[in-house]
């Protein structure tokens, strides 16, 4: 395998192994929640990576509309796919953790609701990409939607928070941040780092694949003409 692919793959392999060690062995068991709290070390980094991925979609979309370069479009598409993957992990690990701790799978809290809407928006983004005949126009549509979708994130969050503060919900207790033990904080940081490396690797590989696919299409047209 080419060295330029091997290094990031090995790096994320080591980082994820370290994250597993810290999350399952190094980090102490939480006193009230027990072992289920360890989901935290995968749940939060996945959320972080999905936000990062959608931020990349937004930036790449703006760059695409300004320059018209196809590579920006491929970067946006790659990042959106990875973002949807990680936000799906967030939405699966969330209820798994919430059920034993909050005694409910779901609550319409600002963070949960925003993640769910975000998931819907970027599923729509991926659908839009595959539903347009004309590739060049499709890329512009996707870019416009990618920008609005990301700008929508703080707006959705704000509106849901307003909605919940006006209708006080039962107090769920400090979910995180409230006096996290130093070992736990350390583990969280390592997992955040590992997931970011994993994201960068996946994005790089997906982007390269996208570039090759585009090049392949171009060559195919060239042969036929």
């Amino acid at each position: 395998m080419d060295k330029k692919y091997l290094i990031p793959i090995l790096l994320s392999y080591v980082a994820i192994l370290a994250a597993l060690y810290f999350a399952f062995i190094y980090a102490p068991t939480e006193r009230t929640m027990g072992d289920v709290q360890r989901i935290f070390y995968f749940h939060v980094p996945s959320a972080w990576v999905s936000f990062l991925a959608f931020f990349v979609v937004c930036i790449a979309s703006i760059a695409f509309l300004r320059t018209g370069k196809e590579s920006w479009d491929i970067l946006a598409a790659s990042s959106a796919e990875i973002g949807v993957l990680f936000i799906t992990i967030v939405l699966i690990t969330g209820p798994m953790w919430a059920k034993p701790v909050w005694n409910t799978f779901w609550t319409w809290d600002a963070r949960l609701t925003t993640s769910f809407i975000l998931w819907l928006i970027y599923i729509a983004y991926l659908m839009l990409r595959s539903y347009v005949h004309d590739k060049e126009r499709g890329a512009r549509f996707a870019a416009v939607f990618g920008i609005i979708g990301f700008l929508d994130v703080p707006i959705v969050y704000m509106s849901i928070r307003w909605w919940r503060t006006l209708h006080p919900a039962p107090v769920m207790g400090g979910k995180e941040g409230s006096g996290l033990a130093p070992e736990m904080l350390m583990t969280l940081m390592i997992c955040l780092g590992a997931f970011t490396i994993l994201f960068a690797t996946l994005l790089f590989l997906r982007y390269k694949t996208g570039m090759v696919a585009t090049e392949f299409e171009r060559l195919k047209i060239k042969i036929h003409s």
Binding site: M127, L128, F145, W162
Partner: protein, 225 residues
Amino acid sequence: MTGLKQILTIVQKDLILEMRSKEIIVSMLVFSLIVVAVFNFIFDPGSEQIRTTAPGILWIAIIFASNLGLSRSFAREHENAHMQGILLCPVDRSLLYIAKVIGNIIFITIVEIISLPVMVVLFDLDLHGVLPLLLLVLFLGTLGFAGVGTLFSTISANTKSREVMLPILLFPVTIPIILAASKSTSYLLAGRDISQIWSWMRILIIFDVIFLVVCFLLYEYVLEE
């Protein structure tokens, strides 16, 4: 021609077209009344529950009907290649967006003006003293929804299954507008304090401004080159 005159000409063209076929407004109206009727069966007739959910039902009827109207109006332009005709005219593209938004607001408002009295009768609502504010809330909600809807229906008109694509793009992104509009309406109808109503209306206005500015700036990218 000045900008204002150009906008009015395009709006007039849409209205004349609709007056001849009556296709969009009639289908929107029938649809919104059906939604109101169907929701009536979900709850016990005459129960207190239905009066508290009436504002929500009103907005569901409006956004479903608007969705139908928006996708019809742009599909029509697409089928008869109206859009190419308009793009050939020496009209600034951002003015085209404003004209389209105004046209869509007019269609939706007509539907609202007819459905609202029907709802008042069916759900026994008391509009005494709140009608001017209610109309303002309806207008603000319609403005935001039509603003985003105009951009997205231009996109979805160029996709494979346009009737499906529009709500998938439009609903998740406009959740903040729908939330703020339906909250303002329900506080208004419940006779809440003016400061509480105003707090939601203020949010609605802020969202309208943000969405309209962003959609206005991005509209030229979704039009054909």
